[in-house]
């Protein structure tokens, strides 16, 4: 019951956020210098061509009219057609978004697989050589620009050792996973560094909590103490951070997708900015915002499940 009302409230809170983002996107893209026609036909366009195209797209109408027109369509669930690709935006999103989602999900899994055990090792052997080595390595990962990490991984694992394909997406699900491994790893590196840092700190904090002593005083086995008492409590704060980061990653996959030639939503987003593809840009930003909000919501629910104190 409480959970349901909690979710409902969160969903209601999302509405103003989405509207805000919607308006900002709408205004912002129209403030961009250059118009779709310029972006599309480039240097050889004659003024007449530009006028004709802008008229076809309805871009010669006043902004408020365009806005109302767009709102009207969006309410009916129609995100319009891409100017450059001449396809429905919904179709495009349906093609591209799953790629990014899969990549992000894989990155999340890789990050967890890297961060959680190492955070524990680091926390349990605080200040040891292992701890410092782990922290140092992650710190370096965190300090490197994403495109740089990507290029290095590509050069080493794909070009030199040919263990992984050089980007792309493949056709079957296994191929997708295989192709997306390196890009996901790239994304995962900085994420895992952030998670590791946070988790290590919270494991240390939790280990000092009295209930851990009390658990030991009960004569529980150390594995039980570790998994039931330490891990779960330590994860609580990390989960929030994790959700926040995943949200950021969804919108920040652009660079990785370019380096690895992954046909995902991030690249579509950038292309739509540079191509002044207003409908795609608007549709995609809003879709991403909804997705990110849902990620946050899921995070909160998961956190509420981990920590019964949250759901009031």
């Amino acid at each position: 019951m409480h959970l349901l009302s909690f979710i409902l409230r969160r969903l209601l809170q999302m509405i103003p956020t989405i509207i805000f983002i919607f308006v900002v996107t709408f205004v912002l893209v129209r403030l961009l210098p250059g118009d779709p026609a310029s972006a599309m036909i480039g240097d050889r366009a004659l003024d007449a061509d530009v006028t004709r195209i802008n008229h076809q797209l309805g871009l010669d109408k006043p902004l408020p009219v365009q806005f109302l027109y767009y709102v009207e369509r969006i309410v009916t669930g129609d995100l319009g057609d891409s100017i450059a690709l001449k396809l429905p935006v919904t179709t495009l999103i349906a093609q591209r978004l799953p790629v990014t989602l899969l990549m992000t999900a894989m990155a999340a899994v890789i990050a967890l697989v890297l961060a959680v055990p190492l955070a524990f090792v680091a926390a349990l052997r605080r200040d040891s050589i292992a701890d410092n080595a782990i922290r140092g390595a992650f710190q370096v990962g965190l300090s490197m620009p994403v495109f740089y990490v990507g290029i290095i991984l590509l050069t080493v694992f794909a070009a030199q050792f040919k263990i992984f394909p050089v980007g792309g997406y493949g056709e079957t699900v296994t191929e997708h996973l295989y192709h997306l491994f390196l890009p996901s790893l790239t994304l995962a590196l900085s994420l895992s560094a952030i998670l590791m840092r946070n988790l290590r700190a919270s494991v240390i904090a939790v280990m000092n909590a009295e209930y851990v002593d009390f658990a030991a005083a009960k004569g529980l086995r150390s594995t039980v103490i570790l998994y039931r008492h330490i891990l779960r409590n330590a994860l609580i704060s990390t989960v929030t951070l994790f959700g926040l980061q995943i949200g950021t990653m969804l919108g920040g996959a652009v660079v990785t997708e370019t380096v690895f030639a992954v046909p995902g939503a991030g690249r579509l987003l950038i292309d739509s900015i540079f191509g002044r593809d207003y409908p795609v840009l608007q549709g995609l930003t809003i879709t991403l915002a909804v997705l990110v909000s849902i990620t946050f919501l899921l995070t909160d629910i998961f956190q509420a499940w981990l920590d019964p104190r949250v759901a009031r």
Binding site: Q13, M14, P16, T17, F20, I21, V24, L28, V29, L31, L32, P33, Q139, V140, L142, S143, M144, P145, V146, F147, Y148, I151, T155, L244, G247, T248, L250, G251, G252, V254, V255, L269, I270, I273, T285, L288, A289, V292, S293, F296
Partner: protein, 286 residues
Amino acid sequence: MTLQDTKPAATRRLALSRLPKQPLSLVFGGLLLLASVVLAVVPQLFAPYDPNAFDYNALLAPPSAAHLFGTDSFGRDVLSRVIHAYTIDMQIAIFATIFPFVFGTLVGAFVGYYGGLTEAIFGRVVDAVITFPFLVLVIAIVSVLGPGLGNMYVAVSIVGWVFYARLVAAEVKVQKRLDYADAGRVMGYTAMRIIFRHLLPNAITPAIVYWMTDMALAILLGSSLGYLGLGAQPPISEWGVQIADGKNFMNTAWWISVFPGVAIVLTGLGFSLAGDGVAELLRVKR
């Protein structure tokens, strides 16, 4: 009388006894940052060449005694460019974060102190900002305003202050429930005095620590934008631009992009270690 006498002695003793006990991370981070700042302020003292001088006889020369880090496709000395880039990258670190830090802290202090409606409105703003794809926003704003570092600062600031405000607001909310804030109110102090004299000094630590990380992030973002062509404009040397320049030469002239990469990592490391150290240093002793 005794008061006057004891004060300097006491502080001196404290300062001396504190010195060797500085957190190790602060020492390392501080040294790295200090080096970075020195290079940023007087690069010409360390750079062996003019960073923008072409040398057609030494295009893409590998590292050698003459060019320790080699040269790039224009025959420019990579070492000199890496060193001169400190100026611009440290400037990015500061200029991209100073406004968010100051403004965000102020907003956070008020939101945290007054709560209620301000907090509700602020909550929505935070939601909107963190749900919006950050890079898109920055790229769009930079495109609207035109490329270049100045506009990048504007773009980053429009978004960045929210994170500081959130941190400070949360901490102020914690602090204002402590008795010393109430004590101030009972003493009849004004809200401004309580906020700035009492709450803020105690609530600002997380923001300062985040600031350190944020400066490192700003350098990374600056590089990414430089890489996309939206950041620093040639011939200014900036690490991201240098890496982008060297990208096509990864196989044939690795030195063009590797050394700026190392500089980014080292500076990032410096900021992050210093952040840890500052957190330790500013921890309130209870």
